[in-house]
Structures are given as C-alpha cells and as structure tokens.
Symmetry: C2
Subunit: 227 residues, 2 copies
DNA sequence: GTCTATATCATGATAGAC
DNA sequence: GTCTATCATGATATAGAC
C-alpha cells in the first residue's frame, strides 16, 4: 500500500520538477516549489532521489533514455535499408531532430514541457548537468557524426561538426520558444493558430536545417588550410 | 575624489557581474560573488544600481545600446547604397549577426564574455529579463524584419519570421558554446587552435545561416494554405 | 561614496516520531 | 514511506556610522 503510493509520489515529483525547471530554471526552482506543486511532503524529494541534483538528473534520464534509444533504432533501420549506400543527409537529420520534435505530440514522453526544458537547459547548463548530458548523449552523437561523415564525404569533417552544432542551436531555440512565443520579439504570425504552429514547426525547421547543412562552404579570410 | 572612484566601482561591478552571470547564470550568481570578485563592498551594488535586477539590466544595456545602434547604422548605410533596389539577404544577415559576432574581438564592448552571456540568456530568460530584452530589441527587430521581407519577396512572410528565429537560435548556441567547448559533445576538431576557431566561426555560421534562409520552402503535410 | 553590522527571509538537507 | 520540526547556510537588502 505504502509502496504503491510511493510510485505515485515519485512520478508526481518528477512531473512537477519537469514543469518548474522548464518554467524557472534549475536555480530558480526550490524544493518547496516542487513538493508544493506535487502535493507531497518536502522531505519526499530527498527520500526518493537523495538530492536536488539527483532529481534533476532523473528528470532528464526518464525522457532521454527513450529518445536516444529511439534515435539509435531509427538510424539502425536507415542504415540497414541503405545497405552499402550512405544514408541521405535529410534522413539523418530527420532521424535525429525529427525524432526529438515529434516528442511534442507525445504527452507520455513529456510533450512540449520536456522539449522546452531541454531547449533551455542545453544553453544554460550548470556544470553538473552539462557533464551529465554530455555523458548521456555521447554514444548517440558519435553514431550520428559518423553517419553524416559518410553521407557528406565532400564536406570537411570539421565543417560537419560545426553545422551539427548550429543545427542543435536552431532546434534548441525553436523548442525553447515555441508556444510561450518567440523570446526576443513580439512578432505575430498571421493566419496560424497554436496547433498549426507546432504542426508546421517540424517541416519548417527541417527545411532550414537541411539548407544550412548543405550550404556552400565558407570562404576563410586567411585562405590557409581549409582542411 | 570619492566621486571619481565611484565610476571605477560601478564599472568594476558591471564587469564582474557580466563575467559571473555568464559563468553561472542570474540565479546562480549572488551579490556576494559579484562584490567579492569586483573587490568592492557588498552594499555598493544596491547603492549604485538599486537591486540585483537593475544591475542585470544595466549589464545588458551598456552593451546592447551600442550593438543595436550599430546594427541600425549599418542597415541605414546598406539601404542608402542600394537605393531603390532591395538589399541583398546575405548583407542583411551579416549586418545583424556579423555585427554581433564581431563584438568577440572588441574587448571594449565586452568581447566573448558578453557574447556568451547573451547566448545563454536568450534561451534562459527570467521573466523580467525576457521583457527587458524584448523591449530593447523591438526597434531593431522590426527594421530587419522589414528589410528581409523586401529582400525576399518570393518567400512567405511567416517563413521569413521563423527562419530569423532559427538563425537567432543557431547564433545564440554558437556564441554560448564557443571556447568553453561544445556543450553536448566532446568532439575534437582537429587542426584548429582556439584562435582559428573563433576567427572561422563567423564565416562558418554565415554560410550556415544563409543556406538555411535560402533553403527550399517546406512542404506541409496538410497541404492547405501555405500562406 | 563607502563601509560594518544586521534584519529578514528562503534555501537544501536531515533527524527522528509515526 | 510519510510527516514535523529544525539546522546550518546563504540570500537580498538596508540602517546608520564614517
């Protein structure tokens, strides 16, 4: 009985923490906020997770484990299908970023709340969460990096790495800002309701990312070794 | 004498706050950290700025005033030069993002420290700083939005707005991560030292941004009104 | 303008009864 | 597993001497 309720309590804490970390950031969210929102006792966080830092890690882990497994699964399938041929760059981009963005529709996986939390966390990591995320992402990143190298043999590897980085940035920003509206502007986008906006975000962002990924190579001023 | 030193104190506080907000975020930085780092008394912040929030605003204002004035100046010059013709999209992008990125070389304007602070703040704004930044940016954003509409008459306006948004994201991420290294990966980029990396960031990012801005339009699944 | 000293409050964490 | 009560710490802000 008590054990059954504790599963509930654990999930309630995770849900509340996810929402509040998204809205106010890690430092801006107190344990009292979290337990108050979750309707559980203040001491429950330390009982179930040990510390606030461990709670934060568990908030991410419960979503990222699924996401990164899924990304691996999809890339496996793409590579099996392509056989000896390299996978198309657009398919790789969709496997990585599309899989992420489609979590928005999946409340079971955190929906937009988790996406926005991830978006803001990727540019504002405390040292401990930066290290944690780097570790969680390492395997997947290495696989996708290699896939892009094979898919774009004519593009210097350093360039691909940078462009992956830029793509992460565009995506983080897009998901961090969606629905709470664009951060720095108050632009109204006519003829679109909130549902449209989210549905159309994926193709919009995909076009942008592929365009950037396949852009002509930059000319460096020093014109030296463009490796 | 006392008045002369106070100018010093003000600047020392602003410099320390800029560096610490960049490294630890707003909530993660205490007034004790700031005044300790600046070598001034704890009470000096409240004397000179009134509150921590006002200090944060002043940290941004002293850099953004210059940046956004400069962006307006450059766009004025481009439009005067173009006469009746629309300005080239790549020139607009460079005027907006290039002007920002070139602040990295200008220690007088905050250099990389301010850039990285801005990068992380744009995806992690407290409510008060979000409102403040939106206000600071409004005039400039409206000018650049209009310039892009004229430069790309064949692209739907909603698409341009979204792509500007994606460009902001890629740029924020690029400047937030530079030098402290890519957040989510431990990729090594061979054959490049730190200086190269920064020098080459601008052309790299510019190619990516223009590629995304000029990408083929997305196909929406519902195929309805692609406005 | 600058400083010390302090008021007031919120934080993360834990001990120990139930 | 859950609760109350509390500890130790650090936060912002300010009053008042110099």
């Amino acid at each position: 009985m008590a054990e059954v309720r504790s599963v509930d309590t654990r999930e309630r804490i995770l849900d509340a923490a996810e929402r509040l970390f998204m809205a106010h950031g890690y430092d801006g969210t107190s344990m009292r906020h979290i337990t108050g929102e979750a309707g559980v006792n203040l001491a429950a966080v330390n009982y179930h997770f040990g510390s606030k830092e461990s709670l934060m890690q568990e908030v991410f882990r419960r979503r990222l484990d699924w996401l990164n497994d899924e990304r691996m699964r999809v890339l496996d399938a793409l590579e099996a299908e392509a056989g000896e041929q390299p996978v198309k760059p657009s398919a790789i981009v969709d496997a990585f970023f599309g899989t992420l963005l489609r979590m928005a529709d999946d409340e079971k996986r955190g929906g937009v709340t988790f996406l926005r939390l991830l978006g803001r966390t990727l540019t504002d990591p405390s040292e401990f969460i930066r290290a944690f995320l780097a570790h969680e992402y390492k395997t997947v990143m290495d696989r996708y990096k290699e896939a892009l190298f094979r898919a774009l043999p004519e593009v210097p590897k350093a360039e691909i790495v940078w462009r992956f980085h830029f793509m992460l940035g565009a995506t983080s920003y897009a998901i961090a800002g969606t629905d709470a509206l664009r951060l720095v502007t108050d632009w109204q986008i006519e003829d679109e309701d909130a549902t449209d906006r989210l549905d159309r975000l994926v193709p919009r962002l995909m076009s942008f990312l592929i365009g950037g990924l396949r852009a002509p190579l930059p000319q460096f001023a020093d014109a030296a070794g463009a490796d």
